[in-house]
């Protein structure tokens, strides 16, 4: 009964989304209170209904109800409980249902937190949200329905892809989806502004929390996915420029641009049309990502099932939403008034430059990802655009962004003083120089590129906190006063500094790993000891053991540094009972920010074991950086103030009172 109740709830939610798609928008256009009033209760109802249906599916997984086709195909009664749970979204149907659940959750949140919004904007936003949820609910019900039943029910299921039987599956997709789907709210706000034909003054203020939440989760989701791939795939890579990764990275780039342009819009009433455009673009890229991953265009661990009908359906959704929103934009954007003027050298100018580089970088990733697919679709020719393309296009585009970052933070709104800012950054420059030399010496690095990379990273790290130093001026006012000033700083200052600091840390991690990591492939006999990057590694023994739904061969290594045991590492190789699929489980040892990574291969005929050992200096900084970035975003999120960009008065205006005094 529970399963069928869940199924009905899903269908009822679909019908509710139909009603929500029609009346609120109609009402907003005709300024009809009654029609607009249906939006909030319907948004809430959809959330409750989809939640019921998700809970019902979860119940079917937890109780191993093999009368549900989706459970047969993706579960097994021996599977550990946590994977029965996460397995709910470890497959196409379930993951789309999770997508929809988060979508309607956001809809309900907008309904709850937008009571002080103008009714028209609120209704039109929820109406546009209704369109998105209608599109995806109909997709779930007709092409990806997780509630289809089978009679008679078999006694066992076919188990979940072993690669997905990992704690990562419990964390990575929900995080990423909150990011993807959160941007749908921003999209709906933009559509609403276009429909009504007017942007309210506080539009950017209302959109800010949604942009921030989405951006934070997308950042964490991508980082988590990267770390998962790093330890699960068994060869120590953390970013592959794989189309699926790019699919999530593109909305992140435009989302980051949106985050910055929305600041300009909120504080200075400028860049309105551009911000609206970025909002449309970001969600369009989220949809593109969903299409690439879910359609089976790409074969990867993410493409659970290849089904052309589904691909076409998502392609249809993609075309309607992207095409429709861009048409609406072309038609209605001229109605929107542009506001606030600013000089080229100013905080706004710096942010425009940031947007320019970020969108260009998005374009580079976009072409690198889609060109091979398009070429294959039209000519049948297969080419692969690998990391070299991205490193050569994306890399150089990021360097000016990183170099400018500290300047942007210190420039004043409306009109800035480039030379003054340069002078104020002198201290940061010297600290960077010293840190770069020290690290280069410590790593024993000789490469000029690595040294430059260190330089740029440290520049961002020190430059981003320099704003705080510059405002607090500890040397001038003494520690006590400095502390009280530090505490009194606006939250936005912390947010900006932490966000940029995170970028710097990530960059430092990337540069160091790329330049100094080592990879050693060994064939080791039991008892043998090898030297690897300052560690001595002994292969102790190997044994077989049985897991809940797999058998594994575990190898034990002892890692010693200067004769002391640093760690006992146990990488393993598993074979899953049902699928017969082998998996490698790497072992990691973290020391400081660096890691030693061991993964084992097959036994050779003479009994020796193929062992891959990587030394990854400062690699954890890559993910620590993303955590710091997200923390910055979180601080910006809890700042509830309206922001006004206090402009630096023009010089004329400052002088006038002085000249006027003698007249008295």
């Amino acid at each position: 009964m529970i399963i069928e109740i869940g199924h009905f709830a899903l269908i009822l939610a679909l019908i509710a989304s139909v009603v929500q798609s029609v009346f609120p928008v109609w009402g907003a256009l005709k300024n009809d209170q009654r029609m607009m009033a249906v939006a909030p209760p319907l948004a809430n109802a959809q959330f409750v209904l989809v939640l019921i249906s998700f809970a019902a599916l979860t119940h079917a997984y937890l109780t191993s109800d093999f009368s549900v086709l989706n459970v047969i195909e993706n579960s097994h009664s021996d599977k550990p409980l946590i994977y029965k749970f996460s397995g709910v979204w470890g497959n196409h149907e379930g993951s789309i249902l999770l997508w929809v659940l988060i979508l309607v959750l956001f809809g309900a949140l907008v309904a709850a937190f937008s009571r002080n919004l103008p009714t028209q904007l609120r209704a039109a936003t929820l109406g546009a949200q209704g369109w998105v949820s209608f599109a995806f609910l109909i997709f779930v019900v007709f092409t990806s329905n997780p509630f289809l039943r089978v009679a008679p029910a078999p006694m066992e299921g076919r188990d979940l892809n072993p690669m997905l039987q990992d704690i990562g599956l419990a964390i990575h997709p929900p995080l990423l989806y909150v990011g993807y789907v959160g941007f749908s709210i921003v999209f709906s706000f933009a559509i609403a502004a276009l429909l009504i034909g007017r942007i309210d003054a506080a539009w950017a203020r209302w959109v800010r929390p949604w942009v921030l939440v989405s951006w934070i989760f997308l950042t964490l989701g991508i980082a988590m996915g990267s770390y998962w791939a790093y330890y699960e795939l068994g060869w120590g890579g953390w970013w592959f420029w794989d189309p699926v990764e790019n699919a999530s990275f593109m909305p992140w780039l435009t989302g980051t641009a949106l985050l910055h342009s929305a600041i300009v819009m909120e504080k200075r009433d400028a860049l309105k049309v551009w911000t609206i455009f970025l909002a449309l673009l970001t969600f369009s890229l989220s949809l593109l990502g969903t299409f690439l991953v879910r359609s089976g265009v790409l074969t990867s661990v993410h493409a659970f099932a290849v089904d052309p009908a589904r691909g076409l359906f998502i392609l249809g959704i993609l075309m309607v939403f992207v095409g429709g929103s861009l048409t609406l934009f072309a038609w209605r954007a001229p109605l929107l008034k542009t506001g606030g003027l600013f000089a080229p050298v100013s905080r706004e100018g710096a942010l425009v430059l940031n947007n320019l580089f970020l969108t260009t970088a998005t374009a580079a990733v976009f072409f690198g990802t889609l060109y091979p697919l398009a070429l294959e679709a039209f000519t049948g020719e297969k080419i692969s655009v690998g990391p070299p393309f991205f490193n050569l296009t994306f890399g150089p585009l990021m360097i000016p962004v990183l170099l400018m970052m500290p300047f942007g933070q210190l420039l004043a709104w409306k009109r800035g003083d480039a030379w003054g800012v340069t002078q104020r950054l002198t201290g940061a420059f010297f600290v960077t120089l010293v840190a770069t030399c020290l690290l280069a010496w410590f790593m024993g690095g000789t490469g000029i590129l690595a040294a430059l990379g260190f330089g740029v990273s440290f520049w961002v790290i020190f430059g981003s906190v320099w704003e705080i130093v510059d405002r607090v001026k500890p040397r001038k006012v003494g520690l006590k006063k400095a502390w009280s000033r530090f505490v009194g700083l606006p939250k936005t200052v912390y947010a900006t500094s932490l966000g940029h600091l995170g970028i710097g840390l990530t960059a430092l991690g990337i540069v160091t790993v790329s330049a100094f990591e080592t990879e050693t492939v060994l064939t080791m006999q039991t008892g043998q000891t090898q030297q690897v990057s300052g560690y001595s590694m002994t292969y102790d023994r190997t044994w077989d053991q049985r897991g809940p739904n797999f058998v594994e061969r575990v190898a034990q290594f002892t890692l010693r540094q200067d004769g002391n045991v640093a760690a006992t590492m146990m990488p393993s190789k598993r074979v899953y009972n049902v699928s017969g699929q082998p998996m490698t489980e790497a072992a990691l040892y973290t020391s400081g920010f660096s890691q030693v990574y061991i993964s084992i291969g097959d036994n050779m005929d003479d009994g020796s074991l193929v062992t891959r050992v990587y030394y990854k200096p400062l690699i954890t900084l890559i993910w620590i950086g993303t955590l710091v970035m997200s923390l910055g975003g979180f601080i910006a999120l809890i700042d509830r103030k309206l922001h006004v960009g206090a402009p630096q008065p023009a010089r004329k205006a400052v002088k006038r009172p002085v000249a006027a005094t003698p007249a008295e």
Partner: protein, 388 residues
């Protein structure tokens, strides 16, 4: 019933929440124009910042000027924006959509894609159901007692016969069918069922009596494949190879390749063509193992599930039986892993062959006696299934 009440409650809750919101919405004008409000708030915040020293007095002054400029523009716009009136017709449309469209289309769509009333089937409950099987035995005993008192109750025999068949008591089943025929009179359908049970009871050997009944059944319903199948098998068992080959060929010509009995027939045919003079073993014993190696451990494939859904209950039983027997043959001859043995035992329980399951459990223990972990797995399984 409970199910429909829950559905109705859910729908009513959604409709009510919307209707309440709609009737509460007065045609109140927007309180104050929102832009104006926002700029006012911004002004107060600038004052606060200036007072606490977060921004310099000059900056505050410049910000104030700029906001005031925006504020002026906003209030001018707000005056221009005339409030539009509302048509009473809109309420009718909204209510119609909520009260009629929402429940009806949800229900219609659910009937189209859903499986109304199909219960949940959690694995634990299904295993417990299997353990409660003694209840079935009690039922049988009660029916038997009833029939001793009323031996001419044909309905009773007809209820009992398929139950006997299901628990593997084929001899009793054929006898029960015999009783029913005695009371009702000769009936091709019942004779077919009786003959089939006789064959099962004789481990696949087809007696003259069974063959005669099959012939009558076939004559009564010439389209039916089952009697012809057994008749062909009988020819083979009597070494009438040419006739058997002809019968099998005729059967296979009309057959759809996907039907579950086709591989068995094909195997028979091949064996007969191979001109071995050995006596035919039972048809089931020569049925090919459905899958080989580790593959056999994977669950049924999507095609098999789809096929199972389209079959009649009888065919389905035959397919499952065929798969189980294939697995049994392979495991008893070549041995297998604990998981494979476990699967066999569990499957036997499901198709109602408890005795056989017990037997296979012993065979499994023998096969896996060197594998401590495997034995533990078997013990755990035996415990959940109520075997020893």
């Amino acid at each position: 019933m409970m199910f429909w009440i829950v559905l109705a409650l859910m729908t009513a809750a959604v409709s009510l929440s919307v209707l309440v919101a709609v009737s509460r919405s007065r045609n109140k004008p927007e309180r104050e124009d929102n832009d104006v409000l926002v700029f006012r708030q911004q002004l107060t915040e600038v004052e606060d910042d200036a007072r606490t020293g977060a921004i310099s007095p000059e900056m505050a002054e410049a910000a104030r000027t700029e906001i005031s400029r925006r504020l002026l523009a906003a209030s001018r716009q707000a005056e221009q924006r005339a409030k539009k009136s509302i048509s009473p017709a809109s309420a009718i449309w909204v209510r119609l959509a909520i009260i009629v469209f929402l429940p009806l289309s949800a229900l219609a769509l659910y009937f189209y894609v859903g499986a109304p009333g199909v219960p949940d089937q959690p694995l634990a409950e299904r295993l417990a159901q299997i353990q409660r099987e003694p209840n079935l035995e009690q039922l049988i005993t009660r029916t038997e007692e009833h029939l001793v008192a009323n031996p001419d109750d044909a309905q009773g025999w007809l209820v009992l016969a398929p139950v006997y068949s299901r628990i593997g008591a084929y001899d009793k089943a054929q006898a029960a069918y015999g009783e029913a025929i005695r009371i009702i009179g000769p009936n091709p359908e019942l004779e077919l069922a009786r003959a089939e049970n006789m064959i099962f009871a004789a481990q696949g050997q087809i007696s003259a009596e069974a063959e005669a009944m099959m012939q009558r059944a076939s004559a009564a319903a010439p389209d039916q494949i089952k009697p012809k199948f057994y008749l062909a098998l009988a020819l083979g068992q009597r070494q009438e190879n040419e006739a058997a080959i002809a019968a099998w060929t005729a059967l296979l010509e009309e057959a759809d390749e996907n039907e579950p009995w086709v591989p068995v027939a094909q195997a028979q045919l091949n064996e007969l063509r191979g001109q071995t003079n050995e006596p035919q073993s039972s048809a089931l014993a020569t049925a090919p193992a459905p899958q080989e190696g580790a593959e056999a451990l994977s669950g049924p494939s999507a095609e098999e599930i789809a096929a199972a859904q389209e079959m009649t209950a009888e065919d389905r039983q035959a397919m499952i039986r065929g798969m189980v027997e294939g697995l049994e043959l392979r495991l008893t001859e070549d041995g297998g892993s604990a998981a494979e043995w476990g699967r066999l035992v569990r499957s036997l329980i499901v198709i109602g062959e408890e005795g056989k399951a017990q037997e296979m459990l012993l065979a499994a223990r023998e096969d896996l006696k060197a594998d401590q972990g495997g034995l533990e797995q078997l013990d755990a399984l035996a415990q959940t299934l109520g075997l020893n």
